[in-house]
């Protein structure tokens, strides 16, 4: 097993030599790293140089009890054939993070635009964060954990005084 995971372990070693990270090899071709917010851009720059040129996705996980947003950047290297996930945590009350658009260009731009709309995370340096999916939406960012869409639909789409729609309120 150790023999097979050599390149994954080496990647974690190479990055640990430069950055203070918590890294683990989950399985063959899957590496997960955690880094603090301040060093995120420097790390992203570094791994892009290592060959992680395909930004597969960016995702946000909302942790309202902790008061944080967790950002995950999923990166694929066509040469090394490893999927590297970089995770970082943001303060939920002041969710601003530096954009990775200078590194992964248009690809990152569109992912950040989506997350800004759905989670309300602001990406500093991304010039176009206009909403993608929702038209005329002025409520809270809908993918946050504290947005109860069931309650919202009940309020907006049904009529409590209508006998036939009472079932939705019971």
């Amino acid at each position: 097993m150790a023999e097979i995971l050599r390149k994954e372990d080496k990647l974690v070693e190479d990055i640990s030599a430069k950055f203070k990270i918590a890294g683990k090899v989950q399985r063959e071709r899957r590496v997960w790293l955690t880094i603090d917010e301040d060093n995120l851009i420097a790390l992203c720059d570094f791994v892009k140089e290592l060959g992680f040129e395909h930004l597969s996705a960016i995702s946000v996980t909302d942790w309202p009890e902790e008061g944080t947003f967790e950002l995950t950047y999923h990166l694929w290297s066509y040469s090394e054939k490893i999927l590297l996930t970089v995770k970082t945590k943001l303060n939920r009350a002041n969710a601003i993070v530096d954009s990775v658009v200078p590194i992964w260009k248009e690809n990152a731009q569109i992912h950040e635009r989506e997350l800004h709309e759905l989670f309300g995370v602001k990406f500093e340096g991304n010039e176009d964060l206009t909403p993608l999916f929702l038209e005329d939406w002025d409520g809270p960012p809908p993918f946050r954990k504290d947005f109860d869409w069931r309650e919202y639909v009940r309020q907006e789409c049904y009529d409590q005084t209508n006998e036939r729609e009472r079932a939705y309120y019971d």
């Binding site: 040129e53 395909h54 597969s56 995702s59 690809n107 569109i110 993608l132 993918f143």
Partner: protein, 387 residues
């Protein structure tokens, strides 16, 4: 009967000044109500016949699956995952099932793995047939459209036989395996459908000169470095000379044991993208034929005895699953905190990148007449972009 104009009238017409418009710029909407656009629009700024700039206008099919899945248990999410992309429901079933399997650590029985890949490849075949039909429709070749959809129906008959649903398999590929076993005689039926599909592929080759090459050669050229920068994956990237396929580079299920090639072309134009897909159909047929002789006996699901969904919990953890869909790379990030429902699901569809940055990049500077050829050569699906 045409009326002869007299001399006086002719002189008057000669003296009319031709109207030369000072400004030929205008805005042009391709979709969302266009018959060939799907539930999606592109706002174009046109100068004469040339597109000055393009801006994608998504959101007509946004259903919020990622959020919906946070409220449902995996058995329900398997059914939801059908709807992520209408045109390749089984492939998205597989993405979801793999994410849950990796979290629970269930050893999926070997028979189920073979059936999963078999269904995923059949789904890729029918998806490519839809693409061919839509491409023909875009190019004004109605016969090709009707034929492709006709031949696709044979594959849908198979889906009905095996999964119970023609388009939506209702979570046939479920966490732990597949929902039910192949019915008796289905192998013979699959072989018959493969023969019919090969018949259609021969027709596609015959139509090539009449329709495809003239309208698509040299149109919408995507260079390799642009393709990687814009996040293109799958056939779009392979048509730009990058040899990559998730089934080979990051093998899942039993793809590592199968023998198939990755078609690659260097041109990067719409024609290359079309040829790649036609070659991929041949490879899919090759894969299915290999599987048919080798499906082992055994269980089709683990655990065999079904526990009530209310008692099943997903172990704590996080995974990122990558699959090769008909359109490109389809991924799912799933996070669990040990509850019945996943805490967070992120779905990454290939068309999110193909329909926004790649399409905007290719349309800029193209001719109006080339828009459908570029648009459909990307094989887009608004459903997996909006999610």
């Amino acid at each position: 009967m045409t009326r002869q104009m007299n001399e006086k009238e002719l002189i008057t017409i000669e003296h009319i000044e031709p109207i030369i418009p000072e400004d030929t710029d205008y805005n042009f909407y391709f979709g969302p109500a266009h018959s060939g656009s799907g539930n999606f629009g592109v706002k174009l700024k046109i100068e004469g016949e040339r597109v000055k700039s393009a801006r994608a206008d998504p959101g007509y099919l946004h259903r919020g699956f990622e959020k919906l899945m946070e409220y449902r248990v995996p058995v329900q999410n398997a059914v939801l995952s059908d709807r992520v992309c209408v045109l390749e429901a089984l492939n998205w079933n597989l993405v979801h099932a793999e994410a849950v399997d990796e979290l629970t650590g269930v050893g999926v029985p070997q028979r189920a793995r073979y059936i999963r890949v078999l269904m995923a490849e059949l789904s890729r075949l029918q998806s490519h047939l839809i693409w061919y039909g839509a491409m023909c429709l875009g190019l004004g070749f109605d016969t090709g459209f009707k034929m492709a959809f006709g031949y696709r129906d044979y594959i849908l008959d198979l889906f009905e036989l095996i999964t119970g649903g023609r388009v939506y398999p209702a979570g046939y590929i479920c966490p732990g395996g597949v929902r039910r076993d192949l019915p008796d005689g289905s192998e013979d039926k699959i072989k018959r459908v493969l023969d019919q599909t090969e018949e259609m592929m021969q027709k596609m080759k015959d139509f090539d000169n009449i329709v495809f090459s003239g309208r698509t050669k040299g149109v919408g050229i995507l260079r390799t470095e642009d393709a990687i920068r814009l996040g293109a994956t799958g056939p779009v990237l392979r048509a730009c000379g990058v040899e990559t396929d998730v089934r080979k580079d990051d093998p899942y299920e039993i793809y590592g044991e199968l023998d198939f090639d990755i078609p690659v072309r260097e041109e990067g134009d719409a024609y290359a993208r079309c040829l790649i897909r036609e070659r991929e159909m041949e490879e899919s047929i090759k894969i299915i034929k290999q599987i048919l002789g080798r499906i082992p006996q055994g269980n089709i699901r683990e655990p065999v005895k079904i526990t009530p969904p209310s008692r099943v919990k997903i172990p704590e953890g996080e995974v990122y699953v990558r699959n090769e869909l008909a359109r490109g790379e389809g991924c799912a990030y799933m996070r669990s905190v040990g509850g019945r429902e996943p805490y967070r699901v992120k779905l990454r569809g290939p068309d999110f990148l193909h329909m926004i940055p790649v399409l905007e990049h290719l349309l800029k500077g193209s001719e109006i007449a080339d828009i459908p050829a570029i648009y459909w050569s990307l094989n887009i699906c608004p459903a997996d972009m909006d999610r």
